[in-house]
């Protein structure tokens, strides 16, 4: 077990296996196992069932700690969606648009992925399906220019919510992260305070690299919300615990499928239930 020699070693080993195989990662697992074994050493814990209960409580604590700032009362509210390649940004945007529209809001989608083949076409189809406006330019256009035009139009058109789709990019690619910073700067220039939310999308199948992703995207553009997709699969998404612990970023949305209605709000209790399920 993670460098800890205590009584109940095999019980701790079982807990360690649950945490690691749920993708909580080595560091967070070490931290949690240490908390548990310290309690065992201080004789605050002596039954294996109680061990598991306390572990759940500790994870609940970690996940409940990041506080989501209250929704900004601004119009249009501008949400910048970012993340590495293939995690589900474009699909998540469609789901968000669908939700806002069902609440009576006027939504505009911004096709600022001007790089990937058929990225604009993909967002266009979603905008038609959910009933959102779309602002787009040709492939190869400067994404910041698309955003600038879109924010100008949104303010003129009485739009309630603007959601900006960006190209997937690895957080380690400095020039691509600079491009993202520029998109953020340009938004703020066209509309003071924009983007009001920066939503980082993570894939539940990703391992400990998700922590590096969250860290670098946060350093580059300041992440205000997290979404985790593909939790309809078999991955547990435990890396959210590591991210909450290390970076204190609020987890907002969960993706549970490929259709426009497959979005739910992140809730700590059901998530922890599923981890131990």
């Amino acid at each position: 077990v993670m460098g800890v020699k205590e009584i109940g070693d095999d019980v701790l080993e079982d807990l360690e296996e649950i945490l690691i195989t749920s993708d909580l990662g080595v560091q967070t697992t070490k931290t949690l196992i240490k908390i548990i074994s310290d309690k065992v050493a201080r004789r605050e814990l002596n039954s294996p069932d109680r061990l598991k209960e306390v572990l759940r409580e500790e994870i609940l604590k970690i996940l409940s700690s990041p506080q989501q700032a209250p929704q900004k009362q601004v119009r249009p509210l501008v949400i910048l969606v970012v993340g590495v390649n293939g995690v589900g940004k474009t699909t998540t945007i469609a789901k968000l648009a669908r939700r806002f529209i069902s609440q009576g809001q006027k939504v505009m989608l911004v096709a600022a992925d001007t790089f990937r083949a058929a990225a604009v076409e993909q967002l266009q189809i979603w905008s038609e399906r959910v009933g959102a406006d779309i602002v787009k330019q040709q492939t190869g256009a400067d994404p910041s220019a698309v955003v600038f035009d879109a924010l100008h139009a949104a303010q003129a058109r009485n739009t309630d919510i603007v959601i900006i789709d960006t190209a997937g990019r690895l957080h380690t690619k400095v020039n691509l992260m600079e491009e993202l910073k520029k998109i953020k700067r340009i938004s703020g220039r066209e509309m003071t305070g924009a983007p009001h939310e920066v939503l980082l999308v993570l894939d539940s199948t990703t391992g400990q690299n998700a922590v590096s992703q969250a860290k670098l995207f946060n350093e580059a553009v300041g992440v205000t919300q997290l979404a985790m997709t593909k939790l309809d699969g078999t991955a547990k998404g435990g890396i959210l615990v590591a991210i909450a612990h290390d970076l204190n970023l609020p987890i907002r949305y969960i993706g549970l499928g490929e259709q426009m209605d497959d979005l739910t709000d992140f809730e700590v209790e059901p998530f922890v239930e599923a981890l131990f399920g």
């Binding site: 189809i125 957080h171 990703t206």
Partner: protein, 292 residues
């Protein structure tokens, strides 16, 4: 990094005289942590540590003047041999049209890898036909058409009112008309637990009898890499793997997990978003990266 840690540990241990099996435990723990931090699957790590332990308590380490370096060498060798092996070439036996089927989870990089394979095969003198068999994702067919255009490779004109099995068999029947001898089939991403969609792949397989069925998997995949690979393999009997997004900072333990559970070669790695970003898999390089 791991080599430094192991050299440290064994220098201290050896300083106390003869190295014992008990001493080696500390080193094994560091190796285990390194592998888990690299996202190698928990059970795969367990087995691997046992294989390393057997060698580490043997004469090659115990009798060595530099036991730390010996252990580092053993880890590197075990990882490299586990991930390496034969069969890294694509199977072009038999008569054309040769058929490559790409499968995997949503967003893993199948469509982009199809474009990359088309480019790669063209440089090898083959005549590929890209076949869009994803009729579900918005603009998936358009995406492959654009990629085909970028590498000047013909693309079968699928439409969303066709079904994937029908697309596959029509494409094969018409391959000659396009002047093509190799079909690259792009399929929709799917969960390995979606029985209907796995049945669909099985149907494509029995209709076409592909030369290659390649799992396209993301290098940053965590613990589920084993379940995903195992299940796709159970349904389809995979012939190989393409590991994508390898140029990032993911340690890439998924490579080890997948190879360990499939015992099929990792034939290519994706190292970028452009269509020339496809490389052969180098087990030794990935071994060093996993060791960290």
């Amino acid at each position: 990094n791991l080599s430094e840690k192991l050299n440290d540990i064994f220098r201290k241990l050896k300083a106390h005289g003869k190295l014992t099996e008990e001493n080696v435990k500390g080193g094994l723990r560091e190796i285990r942590l390194a592998l888990l931090e690299a996202d190698v699957n928990y059970k795969v790590v367990k087995n691997l540590i046992e294989n390393i332990r057997v060698r580490a308590v043997g004469q090659e380490v115990m009798g060595s003047l530099t036991p730390g370096q010996q252990v580092v060498k053993i880890v590197y060798e075990e990882l490299t041999s586990l991930m390496g092996g034969t069969g890294q070439e694509l199977d072009f036996s038999g008569r054309p049209p040769w058929i490559l089927l790409l499968v995997g989870l949503q967003g893993s990089g199948k469509t982009t890898s199809a474009g990359k394979l088309a480019q790669h095969l063209k440089t090898k003198g083959r005549r590929p036909l890209l076949v869009p068999a994803d009729v579900q994702r918005p603009a998936a067919i358009e995406q492959l058409i654009k990629l085909g255009d970028q590498v000047s490779v013909p693309v079968f004109p699928s439409t969303t009112d066709m079904n994937p099995v029908e697309i596959a068999s029509k494409a094969r029947a018409n391959a000659g008309e396009y002047g093509c001898d190799t079909l690259i089939l792009d399929t929709a991403g799917r969960l390995q637990i979606d029985e209907d969609l796995m049945e669909e792949l099985k149907a494509i397989k029995s209709k076409l009898d592909p030369n290659e069925i390649l799992l396209v998997a993301d290098a940053m995949t965590g613990q589920e890499a084993v379940n995903v690979a195992k299940t796709f393999n159970k349904w389809l009997d995979l012939t190989g793997v393409i590991l994508t997004k390898m140029e990032g900072d993911a340690r890439g333990g998924a490579a080890l997990s997948i190879k360990a559970v499939l015992d099929r070669p990792i034939k290519f790695v994706g190292v970028g978003e452009k269509l020339n970003a496809l490389e052969p898999f180098h087990p030794d390089r990935v071994a060093s990266r996993i060791m960290g």
